[in-house]
Structure formats: structure tokens, C-alpha cells
């Protein structure tokens, strides 16, 4: 049966209820732009989404050399044919008229069009000059969570072994650094323990700071389908906002911002107090339980209630649900990761699972989620502040092994200290010790905290800034050289989602003008620099995406993220496959740790761990004495008050986040008409009580001000917790009169004008959810409500016309048996 659904008005589409333990029924979502009919589609080309970490598998419809639509892949394990609103509509941005089509270079202060030879020559000569004068430490690379594995790996080799710099990180620092760190702290190694299929089997799902309905909408469809089926799971939601998840939960805890560790310690206290600990699991697979028991013995629900401002009875209720669960699935995202004590809190979620023995079985798993589509690849390939293949920079054996893979000497790979994290790279640039920064596929002039500071760093004369992107972003406008990049659908590569599923994304159409795949740009640079291995052969011996993938397979061999059983041929036509995939597991691996903990032994672990409060690194000797046999580590943490608390002048807490209709800095989603219309402008959310106390109403123009700066937006009155303001990121300036930032007639509108420069000392992930702020009226609203969606966590309290997409947002949903896409895929 087919249906046509407005997927802006109804972002999650129709239901296909199913009972616990059954496979998730498929539902194929298809969207073709109006002028096109399925019969007119010439080719369907296989790919997966790069707009969130789900990795929804889809086919792109091609006609006359252009993309004309998308369709979910029914046979894929991740989405069974479903697509989220961003998957359905954002591809249209690829065809925008303002795509960068030629390189640009700065000439007399202005960016002017150039050609590839000139642009690359400028970059190569500056690199060589800096290497000679100041050494490798003067050059930094800041990349993305939206490129392909092949591109990250190539960048890693050229940065680490070619340049020899310690300064390479991804903007995954902003979204998944804590996920990686929490997994390393508990399991000794990165890599998602569970699988999205755990949603099919769980009897309890606890979502910690994870508005999955908006960040991973297709997996929320899966939860909604379970909720409507027999034996539906109970949900526990921890979130200060009235999210769709909260509305479906048995218990919703809305804590004060910055108090996650207190809340989690109370949950642990209750589970231990009520004797719901799996002592057999603890004895067989873990170390450290006694320390946790001691740490949380006084962390009663009443104690936490005073800190978190949630009723103790609700904490007890949540602990009861978690404590009696037979198959507990927990998921964690930015409400934990971008908040105070990020890693400490995320690790306490792991602890809940370890003490209850809820790991490695269907439905019993932890999803430490990712925000970006290929964040997992950034981490695996070492483009994020780790070494490739989850090697331990502090283990000389691992470095020697990597040097063997690259055929360079071990001391050619910097490993005297951990790879530099992004926020520190910007500090080095601010101080002048980094003189060249190459930014690929990301937009820090909107996405990093305290934007006035970031703009001033990027705009320095002494900093040579290279920006590689699709559009002339706020960051690109500050660059010395701008390189036009091809994107998804215009190049081939692989990407791995949050649950380790690897998908192949094939080239469907040509990129605009002279734009090139990021891989080709990095290869051009490597050729220009003439990087050599220790035998004098080219350091990078591959020339295309498949060659890069084969090289990566050699690097991943024997490591946790083993790709040796995969190939483009295997991935082509089939569904996504989860790593590790090798001779022992030729069909991939659904769950890690089914037979106990595999990668935590001192000789194999990715990290020796850190202090959860100070971030101080432990050494190998500490690790060996804590965990000689390589078990899971239960690490307690004490609660610390947030670094910025409300005051007389800044009486509110301020948090930021995204909505289902936008992604990253809106460079793509703002160029997709349906998505842009659903959330066209920044807005400010406050509770009814706070709005009334200030005499403010729906639609009033207000200013949010912090120590760092301010922004203006229209007020949306919601059921958000009292004392808290919410502003969506990442509304930037490219479509205003002052396209690089606020000024003139353009007031601040990016949330990060206001956010604090502070990061979790363990994961180094910036805190976007902990500022203290003031709220003031600028102008009384003239009647229209705030431009915020009504379908999401920003749902209004009063009457506001519902968000709709209209005829151009109608999507075909089919539950008929899907066509085999194999034969059609090119």
C-alpha cells in the first residue's frame, strides 16, 4: 500500500508497528522533485546519508546528468527503506547556483577567482616555507565529520607522516569526541558496543541527553514502531526540553543544565542500593566496582534532587525502571557530550550497563552516539586526534607498527604527546605558533564557541588560511585560498555510521565547474609536496578512492576496526556491513563484547585512560595495575558544580542544539527549500513562567546576552524547564548583508556568539550547553509567532499555526515489496 505524506508536517511518516524481537518491517520512502516521475529516472545510484550519524542507505535518482530525487534502500539493515526529512530534501542543495566552481585566492585583500595550479602552488610554497622556518608545528589541519573514509585516511597520512605535524583534528571534536573517550575509558577502545538492532529487542530504552527524534529521526521511527507494537518498550528520557522523546517516555527527568553526573550517580546509587547488580558479570568482565560503590554511597536521590532540581521520587522511579530491565538499551548524545563533565557523565552510563551486565546481548547495549555522518571514520582513520586503527599514541609498539604500514621511521610520526585537539589548535593560531591552517568541510566561524574570538583568529594576517568547501561559507570568506570541493553524489567513497555500518557512496553526477573530490585535492597536495617514504617511494601510493580504501584495509588489519573482509565489490549492491569484517567475521559483526571485553588489554588498548575530573593522562604502569587482564573498567566520578552559574546580571542558563530540519551550519539545509521554510530563522525558547515574569510573549523580538556576546531572535514560549533558555545553532550570516559575521544592520544570530570557551578536560569537547545568560525585550512582536517548528521540541504552548511543508514536501511511502535495487544500481 502506498501513501503520500507531508514529511515536513509529519517528519517521521507513517507507522509500521512490530513486536519485540521481530524484524523491523520495511517502508520505502521516495521523493522526486515535482517535474519528475519514477518512470523518467534513468539511473538509481547507491549511497547513504551524510546529514546525520544514522547512515540511512538510499539511492539517488539521476536524469539528464542531474540528481532529481532519492529513495530509501529497503534491504539495508540501518533504515529498511526509510528516510528522514533531511535525507529526503537536502540533496537539492548540491544543485544550488552559488556552489563554488573555481579556486579563489586572496589578492589585495579580496578573494578573486583563480585556477587550480595557482591555488595549489600557493599552498605548497607556503607549506615549504613554514616547514623550513618554523617546523611542522606551525601547520595545522582541521577537517570534518562529513567527508569519506578514503579522504580522512589520506589526510592523516599526509599530515602525520608527510608533514609530521601533531595538529590534525576533525570537527567531530564538537560532536563525538566524548563518545570516543567514554568508550576508551570503559572498554579500553573506541567502537560502538551495540547495534541499532538492539532497538528491536530492548524492553527498556533510556535516552540520556539524546533527542533521537530530531537527531537520528529514522531510528526514532523504529522506536515509534516498537511503541505501537505489542510488548512495547518503556522509555526513560533525561532532557531539560520537552522533546518528542520526553512526550513518549514513562519517566522524563528534566535536570538543571550541568548536573548530569549528580543525576547519574543517584541512579547508580539506587541500582546498587536495591541489589540489582549482576555480580557474576562484574566478577567475570570488570574491574573497579568497589570504587564506584564507595563513590555513590551518599549520592541519594534526595541529594541529587537538590542539585538537579528534579523530584527525588522521579529519580527513584527511573532507577526502578532501569534496575528491573531485562534488556536495557541506553543512548547518549549532546545533552551529555556538550555539557559540563561530559566524559564523566557518559562513562557513568557505561557503568549502569556494566553493573547490570547489560552488554553484548540483543537489546542489552549502549549507543554512545555520533552527531555527524562519518564521524566514525574520522576516529578510525586518526584524523580526529588519535592514531589510525585505534592505535595508542603512548604505546611504542603501536607507533612502530603504524610506521611499518606507512614505511616510515617511527620518529617521523609525532607521538611525544597526544595529537592536538581542535580548541588547542585555535589557541596556537591565536598565539601565532600555528601559521597555516587548512580547514576542510567545516565552518568554524559559525560552529565553534565564542565566535567573535574565532573570527579574530581566522582573520589574522599572519595566519595562512586554506578553506576547502562547497560554498563560500562564513569561514571561507576569511580564507587566503578557497578550494571548491565536490560532495556526496559527486564522488565515490565509503562512510561508517554510529553503529559501525560501512556503506559505499557512489558518484552519481559531475561536480559543478572545476570542483574536485576532497580526495583528489589532498592527492594533488601530496604530489606537490613530494612526500616520500623511507625507501624514497611516494608516501601516498594510491590515486583514487578504491586505492585509498585498499590502503586503509592494510592499516586496519588486526585492529578492532578491521576492514580487511570488505571491498567496494562486496559493498556494492548489498546492504551496509558492520566492522570488524575479516576472515573470522566475513559478514561483519553485529555486537562487540559478546564474549567479554576484547580490546582492553594493556598491550592492545587504545588509551591508558585519563582522570575523569582533571583529564590527566594515566601511564602504562597505572593501567597495568588497574587492569592487568584487560577487563571493562568501572570508573567513578565526583560531581563538580558547573563552571558558569547564573548570576544577578545573567540569571538564566542557556543551552543550544539543533532541530530536525537543519544540519551543521545550514550550508546545505538552508539551501533546501522545504527544510529552510520549516525553520527559516533563529528563535529563542523560554518557559511560560519566565516569559510571564518578564512580560514577554510568543513572537516578541528578544536579545540573549552572555559575557561573550549576544544574538537576537523571536521568542517561542514552550514547556521547557524554568530558568532555561534554548537557542538553535547554527544560524550564520552567509545570506545576510554582512556575510562573514554580524555588523551593520545584522545583529548576532548565531548561537555561538554567546557560548563559552570551555571544554571537557577529558574528551576536549567544547561545552555548548552551559552558559549563563540574560534575556531582554528588543521589540514587541507584531503578531506572528516565532519562526520555530511546532512539530519538534520547540512546540509552542499557545495556539500557533502548525508547521507544514505543503505539496512540495509530499513523499511517497510504500509498504509494497521493494524492487530489487541491485540490478538498477550502477
Amino acid at each position: 500500500m502506498d501513501a503520500s505524506v507531508d514529511r515536513i508536517a509529519n517528519p517521521w511518516g507513517g507507522r509500521t508497528p512490530y513486536p519485540r524481537g521481530a524484524p523491523w518491517p520495511y517502508r520505502v520512502d521516495t521523493y522526486l522533485s515535482e517535474q519528475n516521475d519514477p518512470a523518467d529516472v534513468e539511473r538509481w545510484v547507491q549511497t547513504a546519508s551524510i546529514l546525520h550519524s544514522d547512515g540511512d542507505a538510499m539511492d539517488v535518482a539521476v536524469r539528464d546528468g542531474r540528481m532529481v530525487g532519492v529513495r530509501g534502500r529497503a534491504q539495508d539493515r540501518v533504515n529498511r527503506g526509510r528516510l528522514g526529512p533531511k535525507d529526503l530534501f537536502a540533496w537539492q542543495a548540491n544543485g544550488s547556483g552559488d556552489r563554488l566552481a573555481r579556486p579563489m585566492i586572496r589578492h589585495d585583500g579580496q578573494l578573486v577567482e583563480s585556477d587550480w595550479t595557482t591555488a595549489m602552488e600557493r599552498i605548497v610554497s607556503r607549506t615549504k616555507g613554514l616547514l623550513e622556518q618554523q617546523g611542522a608545528g606551525s601547520i595545522g589541519f582541521y577537517t570534518s565529520g562529513q567527508l569519506f573514509l578514503e579522504e580522512y585516511y589520506t589526510l592523516t597520512v599526509l599530515a602525520r607522516a608527510g608533514i609530521g605535524t601533531n595538529h590534525l583534528d576533525g570537527n567531530t571534536r564538537l560532536c563525538t569526541a566524548t563518545a570516543a573517550e567514554a568508550l576508551k575509558e570503559s572498554f579500553g577502545c573506541d567502537g560502538q558496543p551495540g547495534s541499532y538492532d538492539d532497538i528491536d529487542h530492548a524492553d527498556t530504552i533510556a535516552l540520556f541527553g539524546h533527542n533521537i527524534a530530531e537527531t537520528q529521526p529514522v531510528q526514532w521511527m523504529r522506536i515509534l514502531d516498537r511503541l505501537e507494537g505489542h510488548t512495547s518498550p518503556r522509555l526513560v528520557c533525561v532532557d531539560p526540553r520537552p522533546t518528542p522523546v520526553a512526550r513518549h517516555s514513562t519517566v522524563h527527568l528534566a535536570p538543571r543544565i550541568g548536573t548530569n553526573v549528580a543525576l547519574l550517580n543517584a541512579l547508580l546509587h539506587e541500582v546498587i542500593r536495591t541489589g540489582r547488580v549482576d555480580h557474576d558479570y562484574l566478577a567475570a568482565h570488570t574491574v573497579g566496582f568497589e570504587g564506584l560503590q564507595e563513590r555513590v554511597k551518599d549520592c541519594t536521590p534526595a541529594w541529587a534532587a537538590g542539585i538537579c532540581d528534579v523530584p527525588a521520587a522521579r529519580i527513584i522511579e527511573a532507577a526502578e525502571i532501569i534496575g528491573v530491565a531485562d534488556r536495557l538499551l541506553s543512548t547518549v548524545l549532546q545533552g551529555i557530550y556538550q555539557s559540563h563533565q561530559a566524559t564523566a557523565a557518559a562513562v557513568q552510563v557505561n557503568n549502569l550497563h556494566l553493573i547490570r551486565g547489560m552488554i553484548g546481548r540483543p537489546g542489552a547495549g549502549v549507543l554512545q552516539m555520533n552527531g555527524q555522518p562519518s564521524a566514525q571514520n574520522t576516529r578510525e582513520c586518526g584524523a580526529n586526534g588519535d592514531l589510525p586503527g585505534f592505535r595508542n599514541w603512548a604505546n611504542d609498539q603501536h607507533v612502530t607498527d603504524l610506521a611499518g604500514v606507512w614505511n616510515v621511521s617511527a620518529d617521523a610520526i609525532p607521538h611525544y604527546a597526544p595529537p592536538t585537539h581542535a580548541m588547542q589548535m585555535f589557541r596556537y593560531a591565536e598565539q601565532g605558533s600555528i601559521r597555516m591552517l587548512w580547514i576542510s568541510g567545516t565552518n568554524p566561524a559559525v560552529s565553534l564557541p565564542e565566535l567573535a574570538r574565532i573570527r579574530s583568529i581566522l582573520a589574522q594576517d599572519r595566519l595562512f588560511l586554506v578553506v576547502q568547501d562547497l560554498f563560500l561559507t562564513e569561514t571561507a570568506q576569511l580564507a587566503d585560498v578557497v578550494l571548491p570541493a565536490a560532495t556526496w553524489g559527486e564522488k565515490t567513497g565509503t562512510l561508517t555510521n554510529a553503529d559501525r555500518t560501512v556503506h559505499l557512496s557512489e558518484k552519481a553526477v559531475e561536480p559543478p565547474g572545476e570542483a574536485k573530490p576532497d580526495l583528489d585535492i589532498f592527492l594533488d597536495y601530496a604530489r606537490g609536496m613530494d612526500f616520500r617514504d623511507k625507501d624514497g617511494e611516494p608516501l601516498i601510493g594510491w590515486h583514487d578512492a578504491e586505492g585509498a580504501f585498499e590502503a586503509w584495509k592494510r592499516c586496519s588489519a588486526g585492529r578492532p576496526c578491521d576492514y580487511t573482509g570488505l571491498s567496494y565489490d562486496i559493498l556494492r549492491g548489498e546492504s551496509g556491513i558492520q566492522w570488524p569484517c575479516n576472515a573470522q567475521a566475513p559478514n561483519g559483526t553485529e555486537r562487540l563484547y559478546t564474549q567479554g571485553i576484547s580490546w582492553a588489554h594493556p598491550d592492545t588498548c587504545e588509551s591508558y585512560g585519563k582522570d575523569l575530573v582533571t583529564g590527566a593522562s594515566d601511564g602504562v604502569v597505572d593501567y597495568q595495575s588497574l587492569n592487568p587482564d584487560g577487563k571493562a573498567m568501572i570508573k567513578p566520578a565526583e560531581y563538580l558544580p558547573p563552571h558558569e552559574e547564573p548570576s544577578e546580571n545573567y540569571p538564566f542558563q542557556l543551552t543550544t542544539g539543533r532541530t530536525i530540519y537543519h544540519f551543521h551550519t545550514r550550508t546545505k539545509t538552508a539551501r533546501a527549500p522545504q527544510l529552510n521554510a520549516a525553520a527559516p530563522e533563529v528563535w529563542v525558547e523560554a518557559s511560560a513562567t519566565d516569559a510571564a515574569a518578564l512580560g514577554l510573549g510568543e513572537g516578541d523580538l528578544v536579545e540573549v546576552r552572555t559575557h561573550r556576546g549576544s544574538l537576537r531572535g523571536h521568542l517561542r514560549v514552550t514547556d521547557i524547564r524554568q530558568g532555561l533558555l534554548f537557542v538553535p545553532f547554527h544560524y550564520g550570516y552567509w545570506d545576510t548583508d554582512t556575510p562573514a559575521g554580524p555588523g551593520g544592520q545584522t545583529p548576532g544570530r548565531a548561537a555561538n556568539e554567546t557560548t563559552v570557551t570551555d571544554w571537557d578536560p577529558v574528551s576536549k569537547q567544547p561545552l555548548f550547553k552551559t552558559a549563563a545568560a540574560a534575556l531582554t525585550l528588543v521589540q514587541r512582536g507584531a503578531g506572528p509567532p516565532a519562526p520555530a517548528p511546532t512539530t519538534t521540541a520547540s512546540a509552542p504552548l499557545g495556539h500557533v499555526g502548525a508547521t507544514e511543508g505543503g505539496p512540495t514536501a509530499r513523499v511517497r511511502q510504500s509498504s509494497n515489496p521493494p524492487n530489487s535495487t541491485r540490478g538498477e544500481t550502477t
Binding site: 582533571t614 594515566d618 570557551t757 571544554w759
Partner: protein, 167 residues
């Protein structure tokens, strides 16, 4: 007054001093954001240690509640330490990244001094069967060691860039 009370007095001073110097470093290095925030967090530990020492000392006839009138001569402050380290250097003013390293080094040495006092106290309390003091020392010393590891980690991570940069 015996050796235990003398050590309590010295440690009280040392923890107070470290708490203050962590705050001084936090203020001086506001633009080094990790150092700024973590130093404030860690100053709370030393402050709490000093209070607990003062409380425990009452049983030993000591009144340590009041802060000392002047910095102890044997414990140079951050500013003095930086002056001393740059004495004789041309210009004598350190660039901020080097100054940070020197300040971290100073904090590290202060925390190490405190940890050795805690060690002495653990041993003395065991010999004298002073269970309350033993418990105090056993609960505070691990945090002092964590302060030491933090300064050490920060120095290790920041030194490569700071020492290589052109100033």
C-alpha cells in the same frame, strides 16, 4: 608541639598556598581555557583539604583557622617564581605560552611538596596510632596526587609547541 603538629601546620599552609596559587594561575591564564577552568576546580580540593586539616588540628591544640598573615618565605608565589626564573634573561618577560609552562611547573612542585607532607603524615599517624589523622591523610592525598598528574600532563602536552615556537 610534636612533629605531627608541625607537619599539620606546614601542610595547612601548603594547601592554602596551593589553593591560592591555582586561583592566581587561573586568573593569569584566562585565555588558556582548560588551565583556567581546571585550576579553579582543583583549587577547591586544596581549599577543602586546608579546612579539614584545620578541623583535625583542633584535637591537637592547634588553631589554624586563620590564613597566615604573609606568604611563607619558603614558598615563593607564582609571580616571584616567574621573576626568579627569568632573572638575567634579556627583556626578562616571558611570552605567555612559556610563562604558562613555568607556572604549571611551579604548581607541580607545590603540589609535590604537599604530597610529601601527606606521606609523612600517613607514616607518623600510623606510628602514633592516630586513626583520625590516618583517615584524613588517606582521603586527601589521592587528590593531591591527581593535582600533580594534571600539571604534569599539561606540561607534557603544551611543552612541544611552546618550546619550539619562535618568540
Amino acid at each position: 608541639m610534636n612533629g605531627i603538629t608541625l607537619t599539620l601546620r606546614a601542610l595547612h599552609l601548603g594547601e592554602q598556598h596551593l589553593a591560592r596559587e591555582l586561583l592566581t594561575a587561573a586568573e593569569r591564564h584566562r585565555a588558556e581555557h582548560e588551565v583556567h577552568h581546571v585550576a579553579i576546580d582543583l583549587s577547591r580540593w586544596s581549599h577543602e583539604h586546608a579546612s579539614r586539616i584545620a578541623e583535625a588540628s583542633r584535637d591537637h591544640g592547634l588553631n589554624l583557622a586563620d590564613p597566615p598573615q604573609a606568604p611563607h618565605r619558603a614558598l615563593p608565589s607564582l609571580a616571584a617564581a616567574a621573576d626568579e626564573e627569568t632573572a638575567g634573561a634579556p627583556g626578562s618577560r616571558l611570552p605567555p605560552d612559556l610563562r604558562l609552562l613555568y607556572d604549571l611547573r611551579h604548581l607541580h612542585l607545590m603540589a609535590t611538596g604537599n604530597s610529601l607532607y601527606w606521606e609523612m603524615l600517613v607514616q607518623g599517624a600510623q606510628a602514633a596510632h592516630e586513626d583520625a589523622l590516618l583517615q584524613l591523610a588517606s582521603s586527601c592525598r589521592p587528590r593531591t596526587l591527581r593535582q600533580i598528574r594534571w600539571t604534569n600532563t599539561m606540561i607534557k602536552n603544551l611543552a612541544p609547541q611552546a618550546l619550539q615556537a619562535l618568540h
